[in-house]
């Protein structure tokens, strides 16, 4: 089940020396932030402070973090409704994220968008999209624009295994390659759509990697629970993109620890599956690696405490933020700030 996926195309590093301590700490911090913000989000559900739905990426943090660590300022992220992590790793504020989940004024979207649409354009987080597949074509547009403007920006577009079976996936991949766009498609294969195993509805074993050839792309599979591995592939693909050599498609094998969304207890999963993946939980794995590479337990504890403190602070600020006022309900439909459709 949770067997280490085969690594293709990039050499299988035996040590992690190539990552270096600065990046390694950064990748750990990013994973910690994702984990603790989402655990907090889960608590807030239970307290009924989050009203709508919400899709946690618990267990999948290494992917967001690996890319977050590799991306540069100005690069673009496009992600899905399961996009808290991808938005956070670009630097969006925890208060903004948690506030949005609670529908407060301080939310990234002022309460208009909600959990499924987190966006922070100033950080390059170009939106979370809740209709499966839609953001792949949009992401290629951002990449096209960067190519046209010769801005050297790379676009990274995250999506799930289930997304590989919808038409927009196909159209976007083909056009990206034909136009040699600087875009990286990252399929987070967590084995499930909502509740249905991806293997039951897909004609190939690796829903993204086995289709790369259909777009003239290399087939790349990466261990999505290892932030270093993700980071390496991210770096390589971003370099390729920046050098004008076109898109990449990366399939990262991973698992979500919680159900699909707030309402889902996840009881369609076979006995032992979650447990076996919890043994490869990216957070404790990465924590051990830090220690292996010489960080002291105290240093690690301090990092953890710092993140938790910041999450707690953000939570309090967000909780005390008022709900949006009636006035904002009708703003920002149009570029002039209004919602007027007649004179």
């Amino acid at each position: 089940m949770a067997k280490e996926p085969e690594k293709k195309s990039i050499k299988n590093y035996l040590s992690n020396d190539d990552i270096g301590e600065t990046v390694r700490k950064e990748l750990f911090r990013l994973q910690l932030e994702c984990r603790h913000v989402e655990q907090k989000a889960y608590d807030l559900f239970l307290q009924n402070l989050i009203k709508g739905t919400s899709h946690l990426g618990l267990g999948q943090e290494a992917i967001a973090a690996g890319f977050g660590g590799a991306m540069k300022e100005g690069d673009y992220t496009f992600c899905t409704y399961r996009g808290h992590n991808h938005t956070l790793v670009r630097g969006a504020s925890m208060t903004g994220v948690l506030g949005e989940l609670m529908g407060r004024q301080c939310g990234l979207l002022g309460g208009k968008g909600g959990s499924m649409h987190l966006t922070s354009v100033e950080h390059g987080a170009m939106g979370s999209y809740a209709i499966i597949g839609a953001h792949l074509p949009i992401a290629i547009g951002a990449a096209w624009s960067a190519q046209y403007r010769k801005s050297n920006q790379v676009t990274v577009c995250f999506f799930g295994d289930g997304t590989t079976n919808i038409g927009a996936f196909h159209e976007a991949l083909n056009m990206a390659q034909v136009w040699k766009l600087p875009v990286i498609f990252v399929c987070e294969n967590n084995l499930y759509m909502e509740y249905t195993p991806i293997s039951e509805v897909t004609a190939v074993e690796n829903p993204a990697a086995d289709r790369a050839g259909a777009y003239g792309l290399e087939s790349i599979i990466v261990d999505g629970n290892d932030a270093d591995e993700v980071y390496r592939h991210a770096k390589a693909a971003m370099e390729k993109a920046r050098e004008g050599e076109g898109p990449s498609l990366i399939e990262a094998k991973t698992y979500r620890h919680s159900g699909h969304s707030r309402a889902d207890p996840g009881d369609y999963r076979p006995d032992g599956e979650l447990e076996s993946w919890l043994e490869r939980d990216p957070l404790p794995m990465y924590r051990s690696r830090l220690l292996e590479f010489g960080l002291s337990e105290d240093e690690v504890l301090e990092m953890e405490a710092d993140v938790m403190k910041r999450v707690d602070e953000a939570t309090e600020i967000a909780k005390s933020s008022p709900p949006p006022t009636e006035e904002v309900m009708a703003t920002e439909v149009w570029a002039d700030g209004s919602s007027t459709w007649r004179n």
């Binding site: 309460g111 208009k112 249905t196 509805v201």
Partner: protein
């Protein structure tokens, strides 16, 4: 009479028809093993097996295309599109294919199928999971459009839709899934294309659909109690075919019509109805036709904002009262 939720009535309607006719098959995302993301289809896989109740990939065009092809060749498929917003990803199959196949082939092709979908707001899901899009469907010649407001209607109208020889879009209001109501025992089937007068009054006719129906009824009670305004409330139930005869006859009795729509304003079904009344009953009207709608704005996610947008009992009450002056 059994007491069922709106949610349970869905499976009940499907079950009734699948038992009756083995050509009825059912497909969609997470509808089989998981019983649907809204738990509307629990038990159907166990009862009818994986050949008749099929989980699909996330491929809405393939889902509706497969339903259409099967309908053209002898089956009577029911397809689920999880949220009605997702009709946009397979709109071609709805608007250009299933709606037009019979006419374009001069009747050679029949498309007896039902597309069920969870429609509407109130769940704080935000702009891409909360839309009321029954007017999208109403604008397309060749599709029937149904939107029930009660468990009994869910079952009866769904059964009728399944037996109908035309493509039917069946809009379930997701905020109504938890409501309860009595449903007749034994086989239950309603007729498509009939509105229902739920309350008869003399001063004004309030015409509502789906989630707006219980709200209109409550507003009507309040109007009676507080202001002595006596309102008829009609549940449209079916937008295509449209039961203009019931609606026009009530409006001619009361001399006034107010529509209550959940969809954003422009080109909603209330506009169509208003235009019919303004053309055919102009001289019978005692006052303007008023439309109460969600403003023409994408739906916000925060509960405070969403509640301000979708017509509430308070707003219906106020606007009807104001219009009577």
């Amino acid at each position: 009479m059994a007491e069922l939720t709106y949610r349970e009535a869905v499976a009940d309607g499907i079950r009734q028809e699948m038992k009756r006719d083995e050509n009825v098959v059912f497909l969609g995302e997470d509808i089989a093993a998981a019983g649907g993301v809204f738990k509307t289809t629990v038990g159907l896989l166990d009862e009818f097996g994986p050949i008749r109740v099929r989980d699909t990939p996330i491929s809405e065009q393939a889902i509706l295309g497969a339903a259409m092809g099967a309908a053209m060749t002898g089956l009577r498929p029911i397809a689920e599109i999880m949220f009605s917003d997702f009709l946009a990803v397979c709109w071609d199959i709805v608007a250009n294919q299933m709606a037009k196949a019979r006419y374009m082939t001069d009747g050679q092709i029949s498309v007896p199928l039902v597309v069920r979908t969870a429609n509407g707001g109130g769940s704080r899901f935000g702009a891409q999971h909360s839309q009321s899009v029954e007017n999208w469907a109403m604008a397309i010649p060749g599709i029937k459009v149904v939107a029930p407001s009660s468990p009994a209607d869910v079952k009866g109208l769904l059964a009728a839709a399944i037996r109908d020889d035309n493509p039917v879009l069946f809009f379930e209001q997701k905020s109504l899934y938890a409501i309860k109501g009595t449903v007749p025992d034994g086989e239950h089937i309603e007729e498509l294309g009939k509105s229902k007068v739920l309350r008869q009054g003399s001063d004004v006719t309030i015409v509502a659909l789906a989630l707006m129906v219980p709200r209109a009824l409550e507003a009507a009670d309040r109007l009676q109690e507080i202001d002595g305004i006596s309102a008829t409330v009609i549940d449209v139930r079916s937008l295509v075919p449209l039961d203009t005869s019931t609606i026009l006859s009530e409006v001619s009795r009361t001399g006034r019509m107010i529509t209550v729509e959940e969809n954003p304003r422009l080109c909603g079904w209330g506009a169509e109805l208003s235009s019919i009344v303004a053309e055919e009953m102009f001289f019978d009207l005692d006052g303007p036709i008023v439309r109460i709608t969600t403003p023409h704005i994408p739906l916000a996610s925060a509960d405070h904002l969403e509640d301000l947008m979708i017509p509430s009992v308070d707003r219906i009450y106020e606007e009807v009262r104001k219009s009577m002056n």
